[in-house]
């Protein structure tokens, strides 16, 4: 399946007239639904406007190849015509969900990835200044998120980014998103096939030079500022990030239905309705979150209970409904520095009581909170367990405050039963340290500095990142030029409050020593902007022996680009931003 730009087939001369006179029409419904487990009580969940919400937000492109094209508006009137031209090409949630379901169903039937099933998707988002350019300063001011208003370069110090002029991580040295050079528009192009991706990118670049069918002279009113590619890592590292850990396992399970059908859920429900937890979980460990945390116009998560709060229409203009804030961070990963630091610290630690013989791999897993396979340390404290890491009905089912118990399932697709050891209460962090990355960014059942476990649900983000650059082979010598190659993660996330979600997670938890629990930084991704030496510490407690505090001065994650954007609905694109 290759989804091509529909306008490409039209007569060029007619196109410009059509796009100017065409009233907004929602897209036709895509493929028929495959419904999940029935759950009568869930009929109250809101129906999502699936033909109006961009596809990458709630459904996720999940493609092996992506391009982020950052654009500058040079002529607003022309840019609007280009937006009119491009709007029909924007992938809807309806289409992406349908494709993802088809892909999943075929993969389950074949027990292998379906060959030749390819889609190439396009999504779009705008900076605050772009919205002002395309609408008015008053409209732009109606986005109440202070972070979005200020933009990423101004907020970068809050995230712990370096501020020294010479520092590679300083916004002034970023590859895109530098102060004074903030992209207005970002296009996300994603495909299962790298050639198809290139074809689509080439096509888009051509349209930037001249809008197909446009009668006006000159270009599109937009210029390309930066073309950033991302690819999933090859071979056994597929689905992993550059440090070698499986990524993206724990995503929020978003509530909401795709149609009026009572059980046509965006996130399938597989917990046996006879178990009281069926109202809260999609699968074991995946807590359901109200969609208003990620898309405007829907119920939000109550920070103090299981229920929902209504959409607050004062936070964004009315036309922002079905839209979402998009955060992009280009994070360079120094894999050699990470490996060296783990080896050095493990060597020291291995001599201490309570940590005898600890390896670099075990130390890294402790600091991540998962093993490379994705198996949670909370369920497998001593060694990696690939079967656990692979099992989507087990690898997210763990907690820190209390022991977990098995969750009965109903109508779940075929999978290995969760016969792995359950996670045990770990209040003091003996198995999974308080500083572990996964415990820092999602403290699950723990009370935190801002409230209980429901409050934590309001902090969650939908991550849509992808690695960039080639992996560093384990066999690379210490002097290999591969060590210094540019590689890392294109961190991408959606939310309805940049301040209270992405920035909160980074500033209040990742880069803090005493929150959400006392015990040090998230040293995997954290930065210490409050210390000239940028030193980070992490505590490793032991049941009987003294806690060991690890100190790191080398940084292995360096921001090298990024921006704050707003991904509008298809309707807003057609009726507000392009007119």
């Amino acid at each position: 399946m290759r989804l091509r730009h529909p306008m490409a087939k039209h007569d060029a001369k007619k196109t410009a007239r059509i796009v100017r006179s065409l009233p907004f029409q929602p897209a036709a419904p895509a493929l028929a639904r495959h419904v999940g487990s029935p759950l009568a009580s869930a009929a109250v969940e809101e129906v999502l406007d699936v033909r109006n919400i961009q596809g990458n937000i709630l459904a996720g492109f999940n493609k092996d190849h992506q391009a982020l094209l950052f654009l500058k508006i040079t002529d607003a009137a022309k840019a609007k015509r280009w937006l009119q031209f491009i709007t029909p090409s924007i992938a809807t949630m309806d289409e992406v969900v349908s494709f993802n379901r088809l892909f999943k169903a075929m993969r389950a039937r074949r027990a292998d990835e379906p060959c030749g099933l390819v889609a190439t998707w396009l999504n779009i988002a705008f900076s605050r200044d772009a919205i002002e350019t395309l609408t008015s300063s008053a409209e732009a001011a109606r986005f109440r998120d202070e972070a979005f208003q200020a933009g990423l370069p101004a907020r970068s110090p809050l995230l712990g980014d370096p501020t020294a002029l010479h520092a590679p991580g300083s916004p002034k040295n970023w590859k895109f998103g530098r102060p004074g050079a903030i992209p207005d528009v970002v296009l996300t192009v994603a495909s299962d096939d790298v050639n198809a991706l290139q074809e689509e990118v080439d096509h888009l670049k051509t349209t930037l030079k001249k809008i197909p069918g446009a009668t006006a002279s000159g270009g599109s009113g937009l210029t390309l500022m930066f073309d950033q590619r991302g690819n999933t890592l090859p071979g056994a590292l597929r689905g992993h990030e550059h440090f070698g850990f499986k990524d993206g396992i724990s995503q929020p399970a978003v509530r909401g239905r795709l149609s009026e059908a009572p059980d046509d859920f965006l996130t399938a429900r597989y917990v046996d309705p006879a178990d009281s937890r069926a109202k809260l979980l999609s699968t074991p460990g995946s807590v359901l979150v109200y969609p208003g945390q990620f898309v405007f116009g829907y119920e939000r998560q109550d920070a103090n209970g299981d229920g929902a709060l209504p959409f607050d229409p004062t936070v964004v203009p009315a036309w922002a409904k079905n839209g979402s804030y998009l955060v992009i961070r280009r994070l360079r990963q120094d894999v050699k520095a990470f490996r060296d630091a783990m080896s050095k610290q493990a060597k020291r630690l291995a001599k201490e009581q309570g940590f005898k013989g600890v390896s670099a791999a075990t130390l890294a897993a402790k600091l991540v909170g998962r093993w490379p396979s994705g198996a949670p340390v909370a369920r497998s404290p001593e060694a990696d367990d690939e079967a656990l890491g692979k099992n989507d009905f087990a690898n997210n089912h763990f907690a820190y405050q209390d022991d977990t118990t098995p969750v009965p399932l109903k109508n779940a697709p075929p999978h290995r039963p969760d016969d792995f050891a359950q996670s045990r209460a770990d209040l003091f962090g003996f198995s999974c340290p308080h500083a572990a990355h996964v415990r820092k960014v999602n403290p699950r059942d723990l009370a935190t500095d801002t409230g209980g476990a429901h409050d934590t649900l309001t902090r969650r983000i939908l991550r849509r990142g992808i690695p960039y650059g080639d992996p560093l082979p384990r066999t690379a010598g210490s002097t290999s030029s591969a060590n210094t190659a540019d590689r890392g993660l294109l961190f991408v996330c959606y939310q309805t409050s940049i301040e209270n979600q992405f920035e909160f997670l980074t500033n209040h938890w990742v880069n803090a020593t005493a929150a959400p629990e006392d015990g040090g930084f998230d040293v995997i991704i954290g930065q210490n902007g409050g210390d000239a030496a940028r030193q980070r510490t992490a505590d490793l407690p032991a049941p009987i022996d003294p806690t060991q505090t690890l100190t790191f001065t080398t940084e292995w994650v360096v921001p090298t680009g990024g921006g704050y954007f707003f991904a509008p609905s298809i309707e807003a694109l057609a009726t507000v931003l392009s007119v």
Partner: protein
């Protein structure tokens, strides 16, 4: 071993110059702890309280401490303004009033007062305090006003001049004795602690006794409809030991109850107090590049056990607090700083696994804030059935 005596918060030395005052303070704390143990025993039975008085009950080895932290800005105010950060900041600075006089609605055990530059809206300094009013009443009269006569055996009578001197040092040299005392009795809501400054906590729920009460009540295991409660929001609604929706109360209660579920005996670490743990100034931008952290001083207490902190730019710098930006936004409210303050108390757990108390039913009438909060089941952990038991008795922090 037994705790020989309770020390003043952060081991403050104010009481050292007042005859018998340290003994009186220790007796006060011990009275409160014992009272809370009795309160818990009303629910769990005599001799079964998991909360204990370390002055009268042994803390054996091994024991472990656990810092419990929360953010200083009032979460309830934030929740009232989901669409406007500025409106929340503005409201948090406004005083409320009751029959005892004005008080701050900063109910996370962290209160502040912003002093403006004369003739300007710019902030010159912000004073933060987390000192309980009981301490200051004791400094004035020997004991907090709630302590019964039979406990007052240390022959301590406080020192009003000491109170005055500290007010003059902390707020203004123009403070007079008559400003602080009405008919000879210390007035915690006096103008120098409300409209003209902040010396100690004023919100009715912000007391040291309330901290001890929450810690004690939270040691009682709870069940609803036969299921053990583990969720922090469910627990506070079930037990009613504080106000749901705050950052502090559900967190303190949730953390303590999690230790209690492990069968631990629990108390608070000496010196018992509510503390400013840290101020995170990461990313704050000053006009001349001076790290904002250099403008933060703990003026009472110690680093990590702060009782009073002041954020002020020295006059020599030529700019004010309001010229500093947090995330590109100038500081116009004290609350912008409070959002980056971490508060804490420290619990002690011992005899882990030794207690096997059955859970108790919820109080008959949950706090009004719980209305409409559905379900409250364990989001991640177990939901285990238990037999029903009679409802407990306990105070509330409102």
């Amino acid at each position: 071993m037994l705790l020989a005596k309770f020390d003043p918060p952060a081991n403050s030395t104010d009481f050292d110059s007042i005859p018998n005052q340290r003994t009186a303070w220790s007796d006060t704390l011990s009275f409160w702890f014992t009272g809370e143990v009795r309160g818990v025993e009303q629910s769990v039975g005599a001799g079964h309280s998991q909360f204990y008085n370390p002055h009268t009950t042994d803390t054996p080895n091994p024991s472990t401490t656990a810092a419990i932290s929360w953010t200083g800005f009032p979460k309830l105010v934030t929740s009232r303004h989901p669409g406007s950060h500025q409106a929340a900041l503005q409201e948090a600075d406004a005083l409320l009033s009751d029959s005892d006089g004005p008080f701050r609605q900063q109910d996370e055990y962290c209160e502040w007062f912003a002093t403006k530059v004369a003739g300007s809206n710019k902030i010159a300094r912000v004073d933060f305090t987390c000192e309980g009013p009981e301490y200051w009443f004791a400094m004035a009269h020997g004991y907090p006003d709630s302590i019964p006569a039979n406990v007052k055996t240390a022959n301590a009578h406080g020192d009003k001049n000491k109170v005055l001197a500290l007010y003059q040092k902390l707020v203004s040299p123009t403070v007079k004795m008559s400003d602080l005392f009405k008919n000879g009795v210390y007035d915690p809501r006096n103008k120098w602690n409300t409209t003209k400054g902040a010396v100690h906590l004023t919100h009715p729920a912000n007391t040291l006794e309330a901290e001890i009460n929450i810690a004690a009540q939270a040691t009682i295991l709870r069940a609803r409809q036969g299921q053990l409660l583990t969720d922090q929001d469910a627990l506070i609604c079930c037990a009613g030991y504080g106000t749901p929706g705050r950052a502090s109360d559900p967190t303190i209660g949730g953390r303590v109850n999690a230790l209690a579920r492990q069968g631990a005996s629990i108390t608070l670490a000496n010196p018992v107090g509510l503390y400013i743990s840290s101020l995170n100034t990461t990313g704050w931008v000053t006009p001349d590049g001076t790290p904002a952290s250099t403008f933060w001083t703990i003026v009472r207490g110690t680093a990590g056990l702060g009782l009073r902190g002041v954020f002020q730019v020295p006059a020599s710098k030529g700019y004010t607090v309001s010229d500093i930006k947090i995330g590109g936004v100038p500081i116009r409210f004290g609350g912008q700083i409070a959002e980056h303050i971490l508060m804490k108390l420290t619990g002690v757990a011992c005899r882990i696994g030794a207690s096997h108390n059955p859970p108790k039913n919820c109080i008959p009438t949950p706090p009004p804030e719980c209305a409409g909060h559905a379900h409250f089941m364990a989001l991640h952990g177990a939901s285990e059935p238990f037999d029903a038991a009679p409802p407990p008795h306990g105070k509330t922090r409102r």
